[in-house]
């Protein structure tokens, strides 16, 4: 299911890229958030560091991750498997597995630091103003509860509704996410539904209390391509209707081009580059971003070799001390790149962790060519 290192989602992604570029040139906003971000962000992640507690020399699984999600905007968190994107998204709602800990940073949501607030406050946020959708709908739904009860649960927990009332709302939510015969489906169990339907149920539960932010951790990765498109379409509708901000964890560049306003590129626990979507595709400012773009197969050019990024993401504990991408980078200069790289702002909304790009020594090619 998961594409191997360097082989991001296939041909349809390339087609998406081109289409997205066309749309941009035609000046059509694709229901994205309006204009540049203004005011306080809805979600502000600052200096987030996640460690495996234990040895003194444990390096961060995720280190110094900083980004904002503004009201109504969609932010993509991308990178290969094992780069820390899922950990980052889990850490926001305090859902990390027991073995890992957040050791530094803050996650401000609506003026509250979710990392230090009381458990009670955190519970109120989970499923309330922040909804979450996970990768595998089958295993993420409780097999012994009807889908109606699982959706109704959110309203019972947060609004204190009685079961019968909450089930009525669940019915409307099922209709809202496009499930036919909602009345009957309320009483279905997850295993009686297809993967796409299950993911719709997950989404219905996530939006049951009209959240301001939806965190979606690879919501389409486990689904068929045609179903992926339907789920994305649904998310797009919900964004428009509910003015929903979305943090989308994905490794599908096509989805990013199609759906998101801003991109955070993660590599080996660091943020490599942070930029509006256009910036990533036209002028990537980190060799890793550029490599990801060139790894997307180009449709219409049959029988060419797939471009891959050689090597693989180092596992935690084996991160290089300098630039973490240096061993795989085709632009690396030993003496310089083996020193730690600072996160540098190139423009208001465009930051990179590549010192060579920041110093103007290196210009990278984007994905959308002539």
């Amino acid at each position: 299911m998961t594409p191997g290192p360097g082989q991001l989602n296939g041909a349809e992604a390339a087609a998406d890229l081109r289409q997205a570029a066309d749309l941009r040139q035609a000046g059509e906003g694709r229901q994205k958030g309006d204009g540049p971000q203004a005011g306080e962000p809805l979600l502000a992640v600052k200096g987030l560091t996640i460690d495996l507690p234990g040895g003194a020399v444990q390096p961060g699984l995720v280190e110094d991750v900083t980004f904002d999600v503004h009201k109504g905007r969609a932010v993509a968190l991308i990178g290969e498997s094992g780069c820390g994107k899922s950990l980052t998204s889990m850490a926001i709602l305090g859902l990390l597995p027991a073995a890992v800990r957040v050791t530094a940073g803050s996650v401000m949501f609506d003026g509250v630091d979710l990392l230090t607030c009381s458990k009670r406050q955190l519970r109120r946020v989970r499923g309330g103003p922040v909804g979450m959708v996970f990768q595998e709908p089958m295993s993420s739904l409780n097999p012994t509860m009807t889908v109606g009860d699982q959706i109704a649960e959110v309203r019972r927990l947060h609004l204190g509704e009685r079961r019968s009332v909450a089930l009525k709302q669940a019915r409307e939510l099922l209709e809202r996410v496009g499930i036919p015969k909602a009345e009957k489906r309320l009483r279905s169990y997850p295993h009686e539904m297809s993967g796409g339907m299950q993911q719709r149920v997950m989404i219905a539960a996530a939006i049951a209390c009209e959240p301001k932010l939806l965190i979606a951790d690879e919501p389409t990765t486990a689904l068929d391509v045609t179903i992926q498109a339907e789920i994305l379409e649904l998310l797009r509708d919900l964004r428009r209707d509910l003015d929903l901000a979305v943090l989308l964890v994905t490794h599908d560049l096509g989805v990013v081009a199609d759906f998101c306003d801003d991109v955070v590129v993660m590599y080996a626990g660091h943020i490599a580059e942070r930029t509006p979507v256009d910036g990533l595709f036209y002028e990537p400012k980190h060799p890793y971003s550029s490599a990801l773009l060139s790894a997307v197969p180009q449709s219409g050019r049959a029988r060419t070799n797939l471009t891959v990024i050689s090597g693989r993401v180092p596992s935690a504990g084996q991160f290089p001390t300098g630039c973490r991408f240096e061993p795989r980078c085709e632009h690396s200069v030993d003496s310089f790149c083996r020193r730690p790289q600072a996160d540098t702002a190139l423009a208001d909304d465009h930051r990179t962790r590549c010192g060579r790009v920041a110093a103007g020594e290196l210009t990278l090619k984007g994905a959308v060519r002539g």
Binding site: S140, P143, H191
Partner: protein, 315 residues
Amino acid sequence: MSPRMIIRRLGGSLLVLWLVSILTFLLVQLIPGDPAEVIAGENATVAEVARIRTELGLDKPVLEQYFNWFTGVLHGDLGHSLSTNRSVVSTIAEAAPATLVITTMAILVAIVIGVTAGVAAGLTQGSWVDRAVSTLATLGIAMPSFWLAMVLVSLFALTNPWLPATGYVDIREGFGVWLSHVILPATALGLATAAELARHTRGCVADVLTRPYVRTARARGASGAWLVRRHILRNSAIPVVTVLGLQAGRLFGGVIVVEAVFGISGLGSLAINSVLQRNYPMIQGYVLLSAVIVVLINLIVDLAYGWINPKVRAA
């Protein structure tokens, strides 16, 4: 669970019972030499041997013998005890209540103690509660029930004379009296099963806690009792019910020892005496009853699966 499935399970159970009836019948046929002589014993007269032969129908062809015996079983006639000449069915019916009550209570003790301790340990992995439960469970599994029974008697009946040390009284003599006679044997019998259940429950709860749907429930704001009751318990229950089903059969066999310690004349002592006296009709009755009980327990376990897990209902 659909009616069709229930019927299918019932059919399977009946088939098993029928096969057991054949084996039970063959019990007498498989006695080496002349069964009648063996059953009558070494000092029997020729007349006695002949009487036993006619009594058991051993002078007829095997198939006819089986047919006659099986027809009897279906009508609730299992023949007569060779030692007392009373009907097997009424002898068993007299001894059965004490045994069944103690076994059932032992299962209840096991469920209440085992599941509670297991859930507590599973939810607090690594804590002192968890370690205490694991240690006690290992101890509970290692201790033989007769020893446990003697310890309980010495503690709660002799040192502190709170409960009677021996005997069984019918519930019609009063609930309190009845309960006081049942508690100690049921606990002695059930604790090992409680320990086994506690270990399995702990493992299942620990496993369910790592499942994505528990994370999903947390992401919806569920926690504490809500999370445990709706998301963890039911999903942990299937393996626990399986173990309980296996253990229930074992308890029914293990009750013999506990009956001996507490001086209760139940099915256990009846079975042992019948074996020692080569009282074959009684043994046949006991084996058949055991088979019915084990098959019933399995049926209940199967039905419970369907109730717990909607996927089984559809299968």
